[in-house]
């Protein structure tokens, strides 16, 4: 197959998922080894811990054309680094609230706690989130027009 055959047809939403290395990324791996489907437009970025996710990264993703951003980490209390996700939880709560305040669709951002054993939950969450973003359609409010091709 030729690569240039692979071209974007109609609009498919793009979802960036920040996953902590210890729980959620492993949960995504388990979803994979259990062959649980979720949309290909979900792209995972591995971070050591949910507390590594800088609000900058989330804004950057929207700027460059993401339509939804989800952050996944260990369940509160189960953080590999003991307390990382507690900080992440506060940061994301406030950031998402701020985006909502600025009139950005609140459903475009989400936090889910997915353990290494929850492959099924990971797939279910991604399917559901992708559906939500599909319904919302393209992100226009937080996109940088220069990044449009």
């Amino acid at each position: 197959m030729q690569v240039n055959e692979i071209e974007k047809k109609e609009y498919t939403p793009l979802i960036v998922a920040f996953c902590c290395n210890w729980c959620s990324y492993a949960g995504a791996d388990l979803a994979g080894s259990s062959r649980l489907n979720y949309p290909a437009n979900v792209k995972i970025i591995r971070v050591p811990c949910s507390c590594r996710v800088n609000p900058l990264f989330i804004l950057r993703a929207f700027q460059r054309g993401a339509d939804g951003v989800i952050m996944c980490g260990c369940h509160p209390g189960d953080c590999h680094y003991s307390t990382g996700n507690y900080y992440a939880r506060r940061r994301m709560t406030l950031l998402f609230s701020m985006l909502d305040y600025l009139g950005i669709e609140r459903a475009r951002t989400r936090v889910e706690w997915v353990s290494a054993a929850e492959g099924a939950k990971f797939a279910a969450v991604m399917n559901e989130f992708a559906e939500t973003i599909n319904r919302l359609g393209e992100n226009r409010k937080l996109r940088d027009l220069r990044c449009e091709k």
Binding site: L59, Q63, T93, L94, F96, M98, L102, G103
Partner: protein, 327 residues
């Protein structure tokens, strides 16, 4: 105010003469009397010191660079300035051993734009007269109701008590009462009650006015980074101008986030904004959320408590609370 000014001059001279301090951080008139701006004085030019209803500028930030010498500098701190001062001490940005913090009373600072909006121009002086202000202009005297022309910060005054200071000019109990004539969160709540689309349009209209002059950043006592991320080429964020709508949003979201949990709500950002963008509403949104989600918190109330973003409880609400709040 006049008596206070006299007391103040007397105290400053005493401190300069007995060698407690060798400089004074205060306010100096600009081209116009209402242009009062922070300035550092020595024994030589101390008579230029101004303290009147236009001295709204928050002194504390300037101590970051001014309080670096062996000799102490005298800082004149209004009650609300002490919150910013505490926050800076907490973050080791100001060394309190190099400052002599003198708490001075305040009965509310005025917003000259609000006076001008009443049609009063050519202002040459201002004096308090109970609930009213007597304003001297080149066209003669005028007057207006004080609470109509107060700075946003003073409308929701934190009170007459100082939370820091080596000495008080007059004890807080004996200080005149401060004004407080508005609900701090009313405007935030009004925006929250809007539809998503209305909010988006509101902020687009406001933020699109931004000319990226960086005045908000330069005046903000919480923005004291040695090198701001927006000036640091390596940060991936550096930009001198807002090229797109996104960058307008981005600059203000990140700025508000960087001061979240540290902002004392001093309102300098809005006061100095030449485009009159209500930037304090961004900070107040964070403050309102923090108070609602994690319990009442006032940044700068002391110099030890960890901020809401550098602490947590295991029972904190989940981010989904944002989704669950009614539209």
């Amino acid at each position: 105010m006049r008596e206070i000014k006299e007391l103040l001059v007397q105290k400053i001279n005493e401190l300069l003469d007995n060698g407690t301090v060798d400089r004074v951080a205060g306010w100096k008139a600009g081209e116009f009397c209402y242009d009062a701006a922070p300035a550092v004085f020595t024994k030589e030019n101390i008579d230029e010191l101004l303290y009147n209803g236009f001295c709204g500028a928050n002194q504390s930030k300037f101590l970051v660079n001014a309080a670096t010498t062996e000799n102490r500098i005298l800082a004149l701190l209004k009650p609300c300035d002490t919150y910013s001062y505490n926050q800076l001490v907490k973050e080791h940005r100001v060394d309190p051993s190099r400052v002599y913090a003198l708490g001075i009373p305040c009965t509310g600072m005025v917003d000259v734009n609000k006076i001008k909006a009443l049609g009063i121009t050519g202002i040459t002086g201002i004096e308090e007269d109970g609930e009213n202000l007597k304003i001297a202009t080149i066209y003669g005297d005028a007057s207006c109701k004080k609470c109509d022309v107060l700075l946003e910060r003073c409308m929701v005054c934190k009170g007459k008590n100082h939370v820091a200071g080596d000495e008080m000019l007059i004890p807080d109990e004996e200080a005149p009462e401060t004004p407080s004539c508005a609900d701090r969160m009313a405007e935030v709540a009004r925006l929250e009650a809007m539809t998503e689309e209305e909010r988006f349009n509101f902020w687009r209209e406001q933020l699109s006015k931004c000319i990226r002059c960086n005045a908000c950043r330069n005046a903000c006592p919480a923005c004291t980074c040695r090198t701001c991320v927006f000036d640091n080429a390596k940060s991936g964020l550096a930009a001198k101008v807002n090229n797109t709508d996104f960058e307008e949003n981005m600059f203000h979201i990140i700025r508000a986030f960087h001061v979240a949990g540290r902002c004392t709500d001093c309102g300098e950002c809005s006061r100095v904004c030449p485009q009159n963008i209500p930037l304090h509403l961004l900070n107040r949104k964070f403050i309102k959320d923090i108070n609602e989600f994690y319990g009442e918190f006032q940044a700068g109330a002391d110099t030890t408590t960890k901020g809401p973003l550098t602490s947590f409880t295991k029972e904190d609400c989940e981010p989904s609370i944002v989704m669950e709040r009614g539209e």
